[in-house]
């Protein structure tokens, strides 16, 4: 055994400097950010008291309000379901364009990527602002917003699934004389069907959560009731709506997890 007193070190000097620099950059960015912001007249130390105050005003929840939110709640679920269905219908062609092995040429490939990127970068609520202008306020605008937001998500993930399929099967179907529609139907779709079902259910679950806020811009759903109650400072009604949303979201999440486990 050697006699020097070297201690064991986990990282060599270069990696240590690298890590230190990374932490330093992050720290400077965060401190700089904090000082950049104009937090106005709000003082950070009053937050716990204000939040606590609000929570006490919410108690007890106004149970009678439940009857008024059943219809908007149903509407929210319908928006999410239709939005997912519409997105699925549009996402299949988009995914075929955005997958390297099925896209006809480079232009269509980039077109597919562009659709996916724009759809994913624009939040549901912004899409809803658009469609409220187009269709007028109401759940139709909300459902369309959900469609346009979900297309990118489904197109991207489905495209990745298509890129991983076994192309031998596709060629076998083509070799038997199938038309391109038949190749799609018998060569590609069966291979991605479990992913298709799983992703749709997963997105439906996300869409339920997203469609709870559409009401804020007038695109229907339970959000209308929620924001009405908030603006009226009817905190006990707000609490009721929040509890109902929580219940629905938890229920759909478990349903979604259960069904996805079935198809996997």
């Amino acid at each position: 055994m050697a006699t020097d007193n070297r201690e064991w070190e986990r990282f060599d000097r270069r990696r240590r400097i690298g890590r230190f620099a990374l932490v330093l950059v992050a720290a400077v960015a965060i401190i700089g950010s904090w000082r950049y912001m104009n937090t106005g007249i709000v003082r950070a130390e009053t937050i716990p008291r204000e939040v606590g105050d609000l929570l006490t005003r919410m108690y007890p929840p106004d149970v009678a309000y439940t009857t008024r939110i059943v219809q908007p709640l149903v509407e929210t679920i319908q928006i999410a379901a239709l939005g997912t269905l519409g997105a699925l219908a549009l996402a299949i062609p988009v995914a075929l364009l955005a997958a390297e092995n099925t896209t006809p040429n480079a232009v269509t490939f980039w077109l597919g990527k562009l659709i996916v990127t724009v759809s994913r970068s624009v939040n549901t609520i912004i899409w809803a602002l658009f469609f409220v202008v187009l269709f007028g306020s109401g759940p139709l605008a909300g459902a369309t917003a959900i469609v346009f937001r979900s297309v990118g998500f489904l197109g991207k993930l489905l495209g990745e699934e298509i890129e991983e399929i076994n192309f031998g099967q596709v060629e076998a179907v083509r070799a038997s004389g199938a038309s391109s529609a038949q190749v799609l139907l018998y060569g590609i779709l069966p291979q991605v069907k479990p992913a298709l079902v799983g992703l749709s259910i997963y997105r439906w679950d996300i869409n339920i959560r997203d469609s709870t806020v559409l009401g804020f811009v007038g695109a229907g759903g339970i959000g209308v009731q929620l924001f009405r109650a908030v603006n009226a400072f009817a905190w006990q009604s707000v609490a009721t709506v929040l509890i109902v949303i929580l219940g629905v979201v938890v229920a759909t999440e478990s349903l979604s997890a259960y069904t996805r486990a079935l198809v996997r």
Partner: protein
Amino acid sequence: MAAGNRTWKRPTVFGRRGVKWAVYAGIVGFFIWSGVGVGADPARIARGLGNSASLVGDFMPPSATPRQSQRILDKMFESVAMAMVSTLTGIVLSVPIAFMAAENLSPRPLYAVNRGFISISRAFNAIIVGIIAVKAIGFGPLAGILTITFKTVGFFSKLLAEDLEDIDMGSVDAVRASGASPIQTLLYGVVPQIIPRFAGLSVYRWDINIRTSTIIGIVGAGGIGSVLLTAFNRYDYQYVTAILLAIIAVVLVAEGVSAVVRRRYN
């Protein structure tokens, strides 16, 4: 072979064909009912889509006066700043909650309480949290920070807790057997096992937080969202397009940075 003219039929997951058709009919019926419910009348859709051509014309080309560009820039910095600060605060708060929400490290009642908190945080959209934060503490980026911090805690502690549940308890026991105190067990038995995932998750959440911070201004919680909503309400659609392009650009940069960093860590 024997058996006559029976053709092969694909087996179904539902066990019986009757069940299968019943399920399909139920799903189709549900969608039709939904379509009627949201007023998806073909004539109305056609009319809306007919308008879209002229509307797209209103949105193009993107344009902003110098003052408006300056405003986009200022508010975009505010969004990014909010995301930075609240990623840190969110992660700092998430760590203890994640430990308390890990089934293998936490006593049962504590586990239940923290899992409940995580569910609540995850269930509500940032916009809802934002509007409540604004009502509670007033307009401005501080409400945004509160919102994003709250959302971060739900996401981050859930995933971190799942990682903690997957750790190798053997090395934890080994550290404990060497006479380590509970704190030391945590530091030398548990923490080293989750550090790589921790770094990846942090960057991932930072990316999501940038996206969120560009939106929640719509309800007054700071950042570029307020500018967007104002532009929409003033029918200043070319300015809207300019703001949207700025948002898309920032989101893409954040996504790129996050993807690169996470690839290096994995």
